[in-house]
Symmetry: C2
Subunit: 353 residues, 2 copies
């Protein structure tokens, strides 16, 4: 296997139990009843364990948006034409998309990566080109990508996240763009969790009943044809995956190897997390699920990954929009741990019992 990918996976360490214990002890000294900030407290302890810092301070959150196209889109599985992928990439670069608005709101940078858009993007100083191919092959009749392409796409994610971390990123969020990409994501969750295709396939950007039936039939046909090995993440990725999904799996693995927390977004990021944890199980504790998507297969993903989402906001956009909201909650959790006064400092009486 690709050496960079192998070495990155090998570098992922367990969470730092000493830092987690120090965070727990401090939480119980802060001026509030012990445990009364619930999820904010547990989140701060997880981030202490991820970063290895007793009082982590997150200063430079970064949303990595990976874009790719899908051969299977020709089967009529999306409500939008494929030209929307590059159009939306331009929208990201010009700052007009939802992810730009929400990232600005939470003080995060947006990094846009072409890992497999079907057309050549016009050059732009802010666009990172890591194009593995001009879209995947239609997986109803061929593997979506070769094994080599799968590894190069994962490596692209590792490269991008390493560059961002070298530049100061200390919290990474995942986002996606790719017309048709709920179809490979449903295929991945069905393959890995063993649920039926119908149980994990939704309307994506909004296909009608006929479109949904076509989408389910398309995925069932592909899984029957390829029979991906549910225990082999590379096999699933190569046969029914997507380049942005592979790239985001690389981002997760790369961030985990550097002890940087990863905020995962919705259904496509969830598919990438399934792949990441299949090829690198040690990455799981580094993941934080931002929200539970409307897309019906998302809950099955989160259960398989043992992740509890922060928000349930009926989102189904992708781009990293839910993850951006999650960024603000993670920073809030760390500030509680770091900035609150203790009972002693504030001269407040502790519990009588």
């Amino acid at each position: 296997m690709n050496e960079i990918v192998t070495n990155t996976i090998r570098r992922i360490q367990p969470l730092d139990q000493t830092a987690m214990q120090a965070a727990r002890v401090r939480q119980d000294q802060l001026t509030k009843p012990a445990g009364s900030l619930g999820r904010l407290e547990s989140l701060s302890v997880q981030i202490a364990g991820i970063t290895g810092q007793n009082r982590p301070r997150l200063k430079q959150p970064t949303v990595v948006v990976m874009a790719g196209d899908h051969g299977v889109a020709r089967q009529g599985v999306s409500a939008y034409p494929q030209e929307v992928t590059p159009q939306m990439v331009l929208n990201f670069l010009h700052g007009g998309a939802a992810i730009n608005v929400l990232a600005r709101h939470v003080g995060a940078r947006v990094v846009v990566v072409d890992v497999g858009v079907a057309t050549d993007m016009p050059p732009h100083p802010e666009l990172i080109i890591k194009k593995v191919a001009k879209g995947t092959r239609d997986f109803t009749c061929a593997p979506a990508m070769t094994r080599d392409e799968a590894e190069r796409a994962v490596q692209a994610g590792i490269d991008v996240v390493n560059t961002q971390i070298d530049a100061g990123a200390d919290l990474v969020a995942t986002g996606d763009m790719g017309i048709g990409n709920t179809t490979p994501s449903s295929a991945i969750v069905a393959a890995i969790t063993g649920r039926t295709v119908a149980q994990v396939t939704g309307r994506g950007t909004g296909v009608d009943d006929a479109g949904l039936a076509r989408k389910i039939a398309t995925i069932e046909q592909a899984l029957a044809y390829h029979r991906p090995d549910p225990c082999d993440g590379w096999d699933v990725l190569q046969k029914v995956g997507g380049f942005e999904i592979a790239g985001l799996a690389g981002v997760m693995i790369g961030a985990a190897a550097r002890r940087v927390p990863v905020m995962i977004d919705g259904f496509i990021s969830g598919a990438a997390a399934l792949i990441a944890c299949a090829i690198a199980p040690a990455a799981q504790p580094y993941l934080i699920a931002a929200h539970c998507s409307v897309e019906i297969g998302h809950r099955a993903m989160l259960e398989h990954l043992h992740l509890e989402p922060l928000l349930d906001f009926n989102l189904r956009l992708g781009e990293g929009t839910g993850a951006a909201l999650g960024i603000s909650l993670c920073i809030a959790a760390c500030k509680i741990l770091d900035e609150m006064a203790t009972f002693g400092e504030a001269g407040v009486s502790d519990k009588t019992s």
Copy 2:
């Protein structure tokens, strides 16, 4: 009744349907599948209706923390001694409490009001004194307050919120401090919703099993003694309420009368919302529930008020901490509506169908 309170209630208008419709139309023109931002979209429409603005911009969120003491605390219903109320007020003023940390994080001001602390607070330039009395009476043997005190406490909230809105506050969040105040809150929710006391009484800051049994018995005894009229918010407030609860009800009514959205926090803010909507039903559409508390009666409150919480974070601190997190989500919702590019502006193809 107190003329200021009466006039304020009378000024509350229904939401602005024209602004809501304009917001809905714009949401469908933005570069995303229609409806794909779920709760962020519905929240933006509600805030358009509250403010009467097609694209509301929230620039000056303000958390109003009302503090008061409770005669019933002498029954041993809290895990903390009453001296913690003024100690925590000082902690708020010095910026070391959880609400200070979270308000700073979301760019909100914190306004602290003594509406009924049992001791005299040392003067502080940031402390607003609206003390109605030095704590309520122990409601196991007397009404918590007189009708006149109840009206003055509600008016205090109206006065405070009017001053804040005059100074630019455009989103108001409610917070509370008062040792023992889950006890009157449970009494209020039992009285108004008709649930049994045991169904709506939890451990507050963390009483043990004996403390919980004592708390339930205390509330049952008080309700049997006073028999508050569930349809008369003033009667419930006066007999088993609290000054900070009354003050927060005033904040809600006052903000609604000025078309300012109100982010309500947890169990004590929820009790205040029950009182506010009992005495001014038109205030309900102006309320946004930030979160669902661990405190078991909170869900019953939210159901009675027809409010769907934004977060479910296992919080049980109060102070406005959950509401502070909600502030950021409301601002995000408004920015989506205001700042995203439309399909036309961005040159993105709309849905094929």
